[in-house]
């Protein structure tokens, strides 16, 4: 309850349920696949899909994917913090994970927020919607392309 109410206060332009009847339907979906060149690290291909040509700037899109790749690299980075976490976890038989949020989880939250932000500012106004890759098991970035509802003619 609280979650939705806060959102409604912060974003007063939220549609009501009745408005949702006018929600556009999905014309197509594009899937940005994983790029395995650097091994099992989570990276996505920055190749611009042709279906998005009329909808968004190539550079904008590549910028989004590159930022996501950097964020995932940051999440999986093996540095001092992950070693420290690992050692601490090992000493406590990993029970520390029940009360502590790992670095990876923190970055995942950051990624979710970034995607939300990108959707709000850039993609939704263009009739596109990014889906957080975690919702697809970190396999693809799913981009929904919505129908162009411009008056009269379809595209």
């Amino acid at each position: 309850m609280i979650l939705i109410n806060v959102k409604r206060d912060l974003f007063p332009h939220t549609h009501s349920l009745q408005d949702m009847r006018q929600q556009p339907s999905i014309a197509a979906k594009v899937f940005i696949q994983r790029d395995y060149a650097s091994g099992t690290m989570c990276q996505f291909q920055t190749k611009f899909p042709p279906e998005l040509e009329n909808r968004i700037d190539k550079q904008q899109f590549e910028e989004t994917v590159r930022t996501l790749n950097n964020l995932y690299m940051e999440a999986e980075k093996l540095g001092g913090q992950s070693y420290l976490e690992g050692c601490l976890a090992c000493l406590t038989a990993y029970t520390i994970f029940l009360c502590m949020e790992t670095h990876y989880e923190k970055v995942l939250k950051k990624i979710a927020k970034y995607i939300q932000e990108q959707n709000d500012k850039i993609y939704a106004p263009r009739g596109l919607l990014l889906t957080d890759p975690i919702e697809r098991g970190l396999r693809v970035i799913e981009i929904c392309i919505y129908d162009d509802r411009s008056s009269g003619s379809g595209r």
């Binding site: 939705i4 556009p24 999986e76 919607l129 098991g137 919505y146």
Partner: protein
């Protein structure tokens, strides 16, 4: 851009679950069903793991995951508890009296590590990859049909990628309808694709994969120390110590051997699956292993395998469980129309599945 031509989609209404899907899973998560329930809903919301097509079983609201067959997990647990119990009850008083109090303390710590890591290995998500949505599967099929080189035709349903100058073949999984990421394998017992699949361990009743490998390693390491410790502390021959002796004698060799083997695997960043199949074997020549995932340094490999972002807490595995792919985010179907057939396949929310 022509953004004025498009009806503005309010991401809040369409992707409401995407933030809660990460932030909400917690002890209070049962209440999130109230949060996400649409106002005019007369539908019962079900959680994703309740409609998960694999053969796993879920308990505690999706926080605990077990394979369909728990294998001999009860036996493993029983043996550990029996041996340790006999040790603490019968041997420790004698040892405390004649030697030192630290013996039961050390035994207690080892026992704690063994039981906790066993339960973690058994009940956590090994790194299950959710199955592809119909849309995603269709997209992959489309690309398979379109691509194809003129010179060399690979066998159908494989894709080649180059990782660290090595060519790695990715196989298509017909059950999960996707190309398996590198090091992923499909477990027929659990009917899931598991990331960094090591093996399916009947002793713990679960697959061992990326997310629970460190628990498994801790388990076998601590178990080998515990069995060796109990074996070494046996000082007299009574009925209870004979039982302990027999159990420890037969298990210490196999457990120590297994620990040694997995230490080697950790040091070379290999999985049991790869080692058995000889994926990166010495057939490549005199040079050292062709393993493209190895950091070529024992310390780096150990750190990567044991301290990597794998086995995080159950909440992550809960999220992975929740991350069931969706065929379409069509909120009209969801919010609006009772007459549309909404089932677990086309539910738009990654968090809940709606059933009529």
């Amino acid at each position: 851009m022509r953004d004025c031509e498009y009806q503005q989609i309010d991401p809040q209404t369409l992707t409401v679950p995407s933030v809660p899907a990460v932030a909400v899973p917690s002890i209070t998560s049962p209440t999130s069903s109230d949060v996400l329930r649409p106002q005019k809903s007369t539908h019962k919301l079900r959680r994703k793991w309740e409609v998960f097509p694999g053969r796993n079983r879920f308990y505690c609201d999706g926080r605990i995951i077990l394979a369909r067959q728990s294998g001999v997990l009860p036996l493993t647990l029983g043996l550990v508890l029996l041996t340790s119990g006999l040790f603490f009850i019968f041997d420790c008083p004698f040892l405390v009296e004649h030697l030192t109090r630290t013996i039961p303390a050390i035994g207690g710590i080892l026992f704690f590590f063994v039981v906790i890591s066993l339960l973690q290995t058994s009940f956590s998500d090994p790194g299950i990859l959710p199955r592809a949505t119909p849309d995603e599967a269709a997209d992959v099929e489309k690309h398979i049909d379109n691509s194809g080189s003129s010179t060399y035709r690979p066998p159908p349903r494989t894709k080649e990628v180059v990782i660290n100058d090595q060519v790695v073949k990715l196989k298509y999984c017909f059950t999960c309808k996707m190309f398996r990421p590198p090091r992923t394998s499909h477990c027929s017992l659990c009917d899931n694709c598991v990331e960094r699949f090591d093996h399916h361990c009947p002793w713990v009743g679960n697959c061992v994969g990326r997310r629970n490998y460190r628990f498994f390693y801790t388990f076998i390491l601590s178990l080998s120390f515990l069995t060796a410790f109990i074996f070494g502390c046996i000082s007299s021959l009574t009925y209870s110590t004979v039982v302990e002796l027999v159990i420890c004698f037969f298990s210490v060799w196999s457990i120590l051997g297994l620990s040694g083997f997995h230490t080697y695997l950790v040091a070379s960043n290999l999985t049991t699956n790869e080692d058995i199949k000889g994926s990166w074997s010495t057939k490549r020549g005199v040079e050292e292993s062709g393993n493209p995932y190895s950091y070529n340094s024992i310390i780096s490999n150990c750190c990567a395998v044991l301290c990597g972002n794998g086995g995080t807490k159950l909440l992550i595995s809960f999220i992975v469980q929740l991350c069931m792919a969706l065929p379409s985010i069509d909120c009209c179907k969801y919010y609006d129309n009772k007459s549309v057939e909404v089932n677990s396949e086309n539910c738009p929310l990654p968090f809940f599945s709606e059933c009529m």
